[in-house]
């Protein structure tokens, strides 16, 4: 199928650059940077749009109106005002903190959240790096985001930040396991770890949400925990540990944590769409529209969770992961294996 939206735009940009540079190899290098810029653009736009969406969805859930004063009827300039305010706030460096580690933590947190955008298939042929170990690389990169939380918590020289940092490690490590095992079912059916193959396999048959409903639920739950959102936001548990690892960060440094959080929210929605909801495939409309419709629906679902469920306790959360989700994921994987074996021998 000819790609008429994003692919055509990329072709057009490529032809313009080729006209200017007049060199195939150089053009390819420049095109890589264009793709990189597009990924970063998606993340930054998402952070602004999703903060606004979060407040509006929250208002919708609580029968309120949400921001409607700043910038017209719909309060569209509210995230801009927040961003400018955070940029111009005082930059406090607490006494006795580990300066270098403390300053590095928000920047390092943003790196893995941004890096995985290179692996997402946004549309037919629109993927920055279509590697054959895509799923594996993705999980490896996203598990790196544990360390910056611990760094920030340790370096802040504050007891609440330190407890928050330790909790992050406990939480993210224990939910990593069920998440990986839930994805293994999808990988077993597809027989490939390449992201575009997974999407193509769903176009040929059915969406994996129908074949793997238990894996879908496990993935959604552990993805919520991985991004530290309610009901698993024990990392920045307001009623117990003030703001967790972010407790000592102010202004723009804290805004970077915020940016990474919303980049993660979007990336788990993209992952759910890619693995379970058929990626860019859908009738009539171009692929990129279907992709973003599914992704925004998943974003809405995650926000729905946030504003309707109360927060769990830390021991409940950990035992739920190890005693319920992980065995369930293993059983699901075993039955998937049997099913795939039977299916293949029948063919």
């Amino acid at each position: 199928m000819e790609n008429l939206t994003v692919g055509a735009a990329a072709e057009w940009i490529r032809s313009v650059i080729l006209l200017i540079l007049g060199n195939e190899l150089l053009t390819d290098v420049v095109m890589k940077f264009v793709g990189l810029g597009a990924c970063i653009g998606v993340i930054l736009t998402a952070a602004i749009v999703l903060t606004y969406a979060e407040r509006k969805v929250c208002a919708f859930m609580q029968v309120r109106l949400g921001p409607n004063r700043v910038g017209g009827r719909f309060g569209l300039l509210q995230p801009i005002a927040d961003m400018l305010k955070l940029m111009s706030k005082e930059d406090i460096i607490p006494d006795g903190c580990d300066r270098i580690v403390w300053a590095l933590s928000p920047m390092l947190l943003f790196v893995p959240s941004a890096l995985i955008y290179g692996l997402f298939p946004f549309d037919e042929g629109v993927v920055f790096a279509d590697v054959n170990v895509g799923v594996f690389l993705l999980l490896a990169i996203s598990s790196q985001s544990v360390l910056p939380f611990l760094m920030g918590g340790y370096a802040s020289n504050s007891k609440y930040a330190f407890i928050g940092g330790m909790r992050t490690v406990a939480q993210m490590l224990s939910y990593e396991a069920p998440m990986v095992f839930s994805l293994l079912g999808v990988v077993m059916i597809t027989g490939s770890m390449r992201m575009t193959d997974i999407v193509a396999a769903q176009a040929e048959n059915v969406w994996f949400v129908l074949l793997q409903p238990i894996a879908f639920i496990i993935f959604i739950i552990s993805a919520t925990a991985e991004t530290n959102r309610t009901p698993f936001d024990l990392v920045e548990d307001e009623s117990e540990i003030v703001a967790g690892p972010f407790a000592e960060y102010s202004g723009m440094r804290w805004a970077l944590f915020f940016l990474a959080e919303y980049a993660n929210l979007l990336s788990i929605s993209i992952l759910t769409t890619t693995f379970f909801l058929g990626g860019w495939h859908g009738p009539f409309l171009p692929g990129v529209f279907w992709f973003w419709m599914k992704v925004l629906f998943m974003v809405f679902v995650f926000m729905w969770f946030r504003w309707t469920f109360p927060r769990t306790r830390i021991d409940q959360m950990l035992s739920f992961s190890w005693k319920v989700l992980l065995p369930l994921a293993l059983v699901n994987m075993m039955f998937t294996g049997i099913g795939v074996y039977v299916w293949r021998s029948m063919m």
């Binding site: 921001p67 700043v70 509210q78 111009s88 307001e238 003030v242 703001a243 960060y249």
Partner: protein
């Protein structure tokens, strides 16, 4: 002197001079994140402010931060005792500049019904620089919203708060 006056006349037709201050004032005024700290009964009114009937989020002020490092506004909502005064001052000092203080209710303004008590601070302006006073016992949520909008006015037009300014002279002349 305004910066526009310094610009030579030959440039005035070719250069647009604006102030980044204006932009930041607009941003600060429209994104006041209060610290979620309540001391007494006024805090109940403060909580209902953010809920459905009054909906503080219309103005973008509903982001109650639990941590002083990310807050802009300290709402002293309720009776402040001398024992609690130390933590409140510490919280205020942990907040990053620019920061604002609202004295909500009669107790923070002047001690309220406990003005003669040995244990109550008779007016928090003895300890903190207060920007807006909201009287009432307790003030209704509308009053708190009005107070926050007054604070926005103060942030966006700081000259209104200065005594002996041209505006005051203009008022006196009129």
């Amino acid at each position: 002197m305004e910066i526009v006056d310094i610009v030579p006349p030959i440039l005035k037709n070719n250069v647009i001079v604006t102030k980044v201050d204006q932009l930041f004032k607009w941003a600060h005024g429209n994104s006041i994140w209060p610290l979620s700290s309540g001391l007494a009964c006024c805090a109940i009114e403060m909580m209902s402010c953010a809920a459905a009937r009054f909906d503080l989020s219309r103005f973008g002020y509903e982001v109650f931060r639990p941590c002083p490092r990310q807050a802009d506004l300290l709402i002293v909502a309720g009776t402040l005792t001398w024992k609690m005064a130390t933590p409140i001052i510490r919280l205020y000092e942990e907040m990053p500049e620019p920061k604002y203080v609202i004295a909500m209710g009669n107790c923070p303004i002047a001690g309220g019904p406990f003005a003669d008590s040995y244990a109550v601070v008779p007016g928090i302006d003895k300890l903190l620089p207060v920007d807006v006073y909201i009287p009432g016992c307790p003030p209704r949520p509308e009053a708190l919203i009005e107070g926050m909008l007054k604070l926005r006015q103060l942030i966006m037009h700081p000259e209104l708060a200065e005594k002996g300014t041209e505006i005051e002279k203009k008022v006196a002349d009129a």
